[in-house]
Amino acid sequence: MASMLEFRTPGFNPYAVKYSPYYDSRLAVAASANYGIVGNGRLFVLGLGPAGIQPEKTFDTNDALYDLAWSEINENQLVVACGDGSLKLFDLAAGDFPVMNFAEHKREAFSVCWNPIAKDSFISSSWDGTVKIWSPSRPTSLKTLPVGNCTYSACFSPTNPAIISCVSSDSHIRIFDLRTPVSAKYHLTTVIPAHAPPPMQSPTLPLLSTGQTFAGAAPSEILTHDWNKYRDTVLATGGVDRVVRTFDVRNPAGGPIGVLLGHEYAVRRLAWSPHASDVLASASYDMTVRVWSDGSAVPQPPPPPQQQQQQHPQASTIIPVGTQLGVMNRHSEFATGVDWCLFGTGGWLASAGWDQRVLVWDAHTLLRG
């Protein structure tokens, strides 16, 4: 891990880091004073250059910042999710104040995501139990999708501009399809209980491909999720129960199609690689960032049938377990943000943590080390 770049955010604890979709040398970090519990927020826009990471611009806010998203339509703009429930659109070329302020959420806004296809809209999610759809040019929301409990993260599908997903503290993944009629369900098309095991013919616990039984069946808060960038029906979730799960949204009752075990505390942020269909990174309160393969690129070897039959004659379902490719343990506090660089050879990551540091590093070095 020799070649690692570092930037410090003194006095502010980062909650999110995102690469610009326009430049391989530009990053933004959403950070909060006092761990986001009380106090101001600060948005850092950083440039990568021969002299390391340099701040290009900072924006201050009156309440904590929990997430950010770069505009997909204007390379100078980005939107932040603020502790007072507002979303603020900043422009690098337009002074120190937000060019737009979107104040509708009644509690902390926890996530923002820009629509990567229909680039004229973004969404936000909040502790007030709603997901809101916005246009960057209109001060009021276009639509409000009710969730009903603290919604930590909302995402657009990377392949379909009308599909929105969100995860929340009730342990469920919800998928909305804006093409469906509003009806009583407000476009809600799919609900996946993330904790639920696959359906079983027998009451025994499902098996993991490692031969262990899988006990993670108690509901727990889901803090983060992300869509796979290649397989358009696959997403991954992470949360308080420390397990990263992957799901195929076409089979909402089928349980996870894979689990990744290893984090020792809650998983705070997930990001699928834009370069490989089976690779994702996760940042956790256990202070590590881990890079995983969900095993989908290589066919799973079938478990030795004889042995399995003897040990667990009743077990009918085997959940594949992914492989941990590497652990980045240089953060000395909760790791809260991680993002992949879209450009270059692939494998460059930025991570941020409550240790007031942003680290930029190459995942390949983990594989060697």
Binding site: I37, V38, D63, D84, A218, E221, V240, Y265, A266, Y285
Partner: protein, 419 residues
């Protein structure tokens, strides 16, 4: 958007949140727990006859407080407040207890007060200290209790009731003597003499066994006091280090021969009611973080307490109402608790409460109770803490409840965890 909401949300994300049961939650160790780092008592001796018959309450308290300093090695200047529960002292004993703390070695900067919630005064003192620590008012404090029934028990304990009080039926009930109302309650609730005597005999037998095995040694601090020999009139110094009310050879049959005290056909007598006694107890408490900083040994922690009111004539049912309430506060169930220290004011009421709550006999007062070694009113609540915590530790158990009925119709209960 409150900071506390955000903090507790983060806390739940880290701890896994609602998945842990009430029991798992209270067994967790957190820096802001209020912990007990020393708990002790004097011996408890017979009123008017025992080793402390010539010792004033304040002297007993001074001895117990000095014991706390000696045992815990705490710098007395760090103790910010001492609360002493005491029932019979004229003027609430406020002056004497302040003086006693100075004698014990506490500096003038240590505050002292007394309180009186009758038989639960000692527990209320501990709870007050715990709450003061929790609220951040003090860092380190002592909850204590004392009673010298030899020197202060008597008709002066309650002043005359005014006409106004007498004119209100329920108010007037407050001065009905406890023996009389307990007798009536035993009759009404069908608690037989035989079952009371069996319960009382078991208390004696458990206490005898515990005393023989030296189980009270850890909690008792020996006191050197003056004692006047009633026969010769000669006064000498003696060391009191054991409970002298515990009698060997008591059986349900031997108790069956004693004449009832409050009614001809009654069931309550000197052998199945608590003894009139002298004694003091003290509990040193602070936050876990403070204890760790000071290197204090942690005996256990205070979890929660409840207080309830019941009709004055049914004061004996206090624990039956207070214990479920403290379960509600903590999310515990009765099966989560390993030991119940329920004060034996009368065998009748203690037995009734235990039966109504469905508590197994073997979990109640495993070292005997007030029937065997006495009930110095203000002391008992603080005494139960050391009795409970040392027994939990000895047996490798965790969760205990202390509870008692309170004269004039109240009940208190508290949950403690041994570590």
């Amino acid at each position: 958007m409150g900071a506390l909401d955000r903090l507790s949300q983060l806390g739940n994300q880290i701890s896994g949140g609602a998945s842990s049961s009430g029991k798992a939650k209270i067994l967790e160790k957190n820096p802001d727990d209020v912990v007990v780092t020393a708990a002790l008592r004097t011996a408890i001796t017979k009123g008017g006859k025992g080793g402390f018959k010539d010792t004033y309450a304040a002297d007993l308290m001074a001895g117990a407080l000095k014991g706390i300093i000696d045992r815990s090695k705490i710098d007395p200047a760090l103790v910010e407040d001492i609360v002493v529960g005491t029932v019979l002292a004229p003027g609430g004993g406020a002056t004497e207890m302040r003086a006693a703390s100075l004698v014990a070695g506490f500096p003038t900067s240590t505050a002292v007060r007394t309180l009186n919630r009758q038989c639960s005064s000692g527990l209320q003192a501990c709870v007050d200290i715990a709450n003061q620590i929790r609220a951040g008012m003090i860092e380190v404090g002592i909850g204590a209790g004392v009673e010298s029934m030899s020197t202060q028990y008597g008709p002066g304990a309650v002043s005359e009731f005014s006409e106004l009080l007498e004119s209100h039926p329920e108010a007037a009930n407050c001065k009905v003597p406890m023996g009389v109302l307990s007798e009536q309650m035993a009759k009404d609730r069908g608690i037989t003499r035989a079952s009371q005597d069996a319960f009382a005999a078991a208390s004696f037998q458990k206490a005898v066994k515990a005393q023989a095995a030296g189980l009270f040694k850890e909690e008792i601090v020996p006191l050197k006091v003056k004692f006047e020999n009633p026969k010769t009139g000669e006064t000498k110094e003696i060391v009191v280090d054991r409970d002298d009310g515990i009698r060997d050879g008591v059986t349900a049959e031997s108790l069956g021969k004693i004449r009832a005290a409050f009614a001809k056909d009654g069931s309550i007598h000197a052998g199945n009611a608590s003894q009139v006694s002298d004694g003091a107890a003290a509990v040193l408490m602070m936050k876990r973080s403070t204890a760790e900083k000071l290197g204090q040994p942690i005996l256990g922690k205070f979890v929660a307490a409840s207080v309830v009111g019941v009709p004055p004539l049914l004061m004996g049912v206090g624990p039956w109402k207070a214990i479920p309430k403290v379960f509600e506060l903590t999310g515990l169930t009765k099966d989560d608790v390993d030991i119940y220290e329920i004060n034996e004011a009368f065998a009748s009421q203690c037995l009734w409460c235990a039966n109504e709550l469905g508590l197994p006999q073997e979990k109640i007062n495993p070292k005997g109770g007030a029937i065997a070694f006495g009930h110095p009113l203000g002391c008992t609540g603080a005494r139960q803490v050391s009795t409970l915590l040392y027994e939990l530790r000895r047996t490798g158990k965790k969760i205990g409840v202390t509870s008692m009925c309170v004269g004039t119709g109240m009940g208190m209960a508290a949950v403690w965890v041994a570590e």
